[in-house]
Every structure is written in structure tokens, then in C-alpha cells.
Assembly symmetry: C2
Homo-oligomer: 277 residues x 2
């Protein structure tokens, strides 16, 4: 049982003091969801092995009353298994499977493409002593010079925003991915938005994006855990004339987000597809 109701979390920060790692962000929310206080060990991208006494090369890592637990998924499983009487992060095994699917989609649709559009900002916001390591390793991962890769991002950001429609649809009728209360699905996905907010020197999403209330609702949890003063605004992207819509307006024709309540509810579509005006 966590001494003093506190769990130690090894952070991964940038020069503003904000957390950058989406996995550390998700883990911060997870520890607080279980009702524990956070004892943060600060630090950036380099020196992780030294800070953790050789326990891990990657973060997050937590220490619970002397017990080390690694890996963001491993930490969630540990917290729910060890503290089943506290609010569950994964309230049903199906939530774990579906969150993995959603996370994988979100990574490919948003976090990955955003990384290629913000990789220069990503490096620039790091601690000075991390910049050489971050530059060389990310150039290997991304296959190019960071400042060159992010060039032309204004042409790519609208399509990334448009691709988030599955998340907008899911949250249209629900406050949280968890339903009426948040769970690890919310924390996992908010991690990607907060990662972006830790580094973005230009907004990625429209000011009136339907996702914004959910982002703000999750960030406000646990006394504003996701409202660090070092974060940059991610809402405020202005569409240019030829850009595709940044999100779908309400009421667009489309099978899966309508309800059939009888012929009156389908007549407009029927008229349209029958060219029957």
C-alpha cells in the first residue's frame, strides 16, 4: 500500500516544466484516478538510466512503496490489480481491448502525422542539454532533418484535424470516453493532445472544434492536472480558403450517426437518393 497515499512517478519534461511524453501524461492521470498523490521526479530525455538507478531506459516508471513498475499499460494493470477497491481505470476487459484499438488508430491518424509536422518545435522546446540527443535520435526515427520535415505543415494540419471524426462522433453523446465518468481510455487519448500542447508553436485544431469541450473537461480533472502553465494553445487553427473542413458540421448525411425513428426520420435521405425533389 502506497506510503502516505503517494506514488512516485518519473516525469519526462521539456524546458517549460511541462510533461511532454503522452505515456507519462496518461500515467499521471491514471495515478490520480486511483486517488493517489503524485511524487514527481523531474527530468528530460537524457539521463533516465542514471535517474532511475539503471531500472529503465524509458518512461513512465512508478515506484509504489519501493516496488518499481514500468510501462504505461503495465502501470495501469498494476494499479487496477493492486487496488481493486479504488475506482477502476479499466472497468471491463473490453475497455482495454477497445482502448488499444482506439489508441492505435489515434497514433496513426494524429500523433504520428503531428510529430512530422511539429518535430522542429519538439526539439526546440526541450531542455538545452537534451537537444543534441533528441535531434539525432528523432532524425533516425523520422528519416530526415527535423526543421525540414516540419516545413509545409500548414498544408497538412487540416487533413489531420479532419481525420479525428471518429473521436468527435463518439464524444457527441457522452462526456467522456468512459461514459459519464472518465477512465483510462480518456487518459490514453488526452496524452496525445497534451503531448502536442507541450510543444506546438502553432495550433493544430479549430477554435470551435467539437473536441475542445472534452479536451478541456479532461484537462480540468484533479485540480487542473492537464492545465500546466507551460502548455501552448492547440486550438485556434484558421482554415485557409482551399482547405477541407477541419471537422464535419452537425447534421451531415451519414448512416452511422443517425437514428431511425420511423419513416419521417428517413424521408429526406430517401428523397435525395431517389432524386425525388
Amino acid at each position: 500500500m502506497a506510503a502516505n497515499n503517494t506514488i512516485t512517478l518519473y516525469d519526462l519534461q521539456v524546458s517549460t516544466g511541462a510533461t511532454i511524453s503522452p505515456f507519462v501524461w496518461a500515467t499521471k492521470f491514471a495515478v490520480r484516478h486511483k486517488g493517489f498523490d503524485l511524487d514527481l521526479v523531474e527530468g528530460g530525455f537524457t539521463g533516465i538510466m542514471e535517474r532511475t538507478g539503471g531500472m529503465t531506459e524509458r518512461l513512465p516508471a512508478i515506484v509504489d512503496d519501493g516496488k518499481w513498475v514500468l510501462d504505461s499499460w503495465g502501470i495501469v494493470e498494476y494499479l487496477d490489480e493492486t487496488y481493486p477497491d479504488r475506482p477502476m481505470l479499466i472497468p471491463h476487459e473490453s475497455v482495454a481491448v477497445l482502448t488499444r484499438a482506439l489508441d492505435s488508430w489515434f497514433w496513426g491518424a494524429a500523433v504520428g502525422p503531428w510529430m512530422r509536422s511539429y518535430c522542429g518545435d519538439y526539439r526546440d522546446v526541450c531542455y538545452e542539454h537534451d537537444k543534441e540527443y533528441v535531434t539525432s535520435t528523432r532524425e533516425v526515427i523520422l528519416g530526415g532533418k527535423l526543421e525540414e520535415l516540419q516545413l509545409g505543415r500548414e498544408d497538412r494540419l487540416p487533413a489531420i484535424s479532419a481525420a479525428l471524426e471518429p473521436l468527435r462522433l463518439a464524444l457527441k453523446e457522452s462526456d467522456f470516453l468512459g461514459g459519464r465518468t472518465p477512465n483510462y481510455a480518456d487518459y490514453r487519448i488526452i496524452g496525445g493532445f497534451l503531448w502536442l500542447a507541450s510543444l506546438a508553436q502553432t495550433p493544430a485544431l479549430a477554435a470551435d472544434d467539437p473536441l475542445r469541450p472534452w479536451v478541456e473537461r479532461v484537462c480540468a480533472l484533479y485540480h487542473g492536472l492537464g492545465e500546466h502553465p507551460g502548455l501552448f494553445p492547440i486550438f485556434g487553427l484558421e482554415p485557409r480558403e482551399a482547405d477541407p473542413p477541419l471537422f464535419m458540421p452537425e447534421g451531415v448525411m451519414g448512416g452511422i450517426n443517425k437514428r431511425n425513428t420511423g419513416p419521417a426520420s428517413t424521408q429526406a435521405e430517401t428523397k435525395f437518393i431517389n432524386k425525388d425533389d
Copy 2:
């Protein structure tokens, strides 16, 4: 309470006798999941208002002891609310939210693109008396001649297959999207695969696609509910030389599907990103 433990379901079929609608497929599994027998009212795309006595223009629709329930989501909510002592289709409200997100992603990533690659087959497999209606309405929806739209599909199918990686990742460690047992998330997504199987004259996925065991596992439920003899094979796509991989091989480097169990588990990646061979 359903008389004789049986619920009436209005089907939407093609000339083979197989169900085509992904929403009717999902609903068939949903009714059987709740332990009810199915009383199917057969029929195709036209004459739905006549068959249902003016109750609906769209299917699925069920009748439970005289009570009409419309809309695939509406039916699921009705079944769980009315029969909470039978196995739940949505065992936690988070499963509904996450299934909506996954379904929306799957529609955009697979069902929509498959429709544009199989819209000629879609029409050709219909009952003769449905073909004129299906041709004219789908040409409005898709914006072109069906046989022209599906031309060149061999160039598009590999990318659609590759886009299904989030589903493969989620099912790597789990038999079902529901976890150890299936739930409505499985039925919702299998509906798209069975829709494809009802019409595809050429396979869309590799014979050794990692999704295949899950597809076959779900189709085998309820005495082979998804194994109708009128279905066509969807596995068996042969990649051509210049095609991208149809699915990611095991063990590809990628953050979210690995586990950090300490420095030994991350050393290979560390060496690679440090160009430290």
C-alpha cells in the same frame, strides 16, 4: 417477454439468400447473444415499407411480442434495457462510446473504401427486382456509375487492408473485442466483414491476415450464424510485387504495442536510434 423466446427480425438479403446489411448482421448476432431465437422476415432492398406495414423505410427492425423497435443501436439499447438478466451486449457504458468510435473509424477506413471498390458486385448480387433501385440510389450516393467506380480496385485493396492495423493490434492479445467473450463491439465490426462477404467477387484481405482467426471465431458463434453458404471468400488477396504489405509483420518497431520490462527490452531500439551498432 418475447413469446416462445423468439424475436422477429426483418432481414435485408441478396439473391444468394445471405444478409447484406452490416447493421442487420450486427443485429442478428445481438438477438442471438441475448439468447433469443430469430424469426426472420425475408426480403431485399425494395418493398420495405410494404413488408413492415409502413413502420420503417430502413432495416433492421425487430418485433418483440408485438413491440416494434427500429435502428441497430436502438435495438441494442432496447435488448439490454428490457432483458438485463441476460448477457449484456454493452457491459459498461464506456464500451458503447468506444464502439461508436471504432465503428466510425472502421466505416471510414474500410467499409466506405470497400464500397467504392465493390459497388458493381454489390449491385450484381442483388435480387433482380432490386437492381434498378440499388443502381440508381447508389449512383447518387457514390456519385458515379457503379461499374466504373470499382475499376482499378486491385490498386486500392492493399492500402485498405493495411489500414486495419488498429483492429489487428487490439485483437493480438484478446480473442474478442469484448475480451474473453464477445459483445456488441464484435458484432458491430463483424457486420462490415460479413457485408463484404455477401458480395465480394474477389478477396480483399490476405489468406494469412492476422484478423482471420477473429473473423472465423465470431462467424462460428451461435451455430455458425456468420457462415451462410451464400457468402463469398474475403481472404485470399495475393499481393503484387509493388504493393505495400497487406499487414504489418510481427515484431515491427513501434512504441504502443511493446512492453518495457527493463533495459534489456529496449536496448535494440536504443542502439538503433543512437546509430550505435
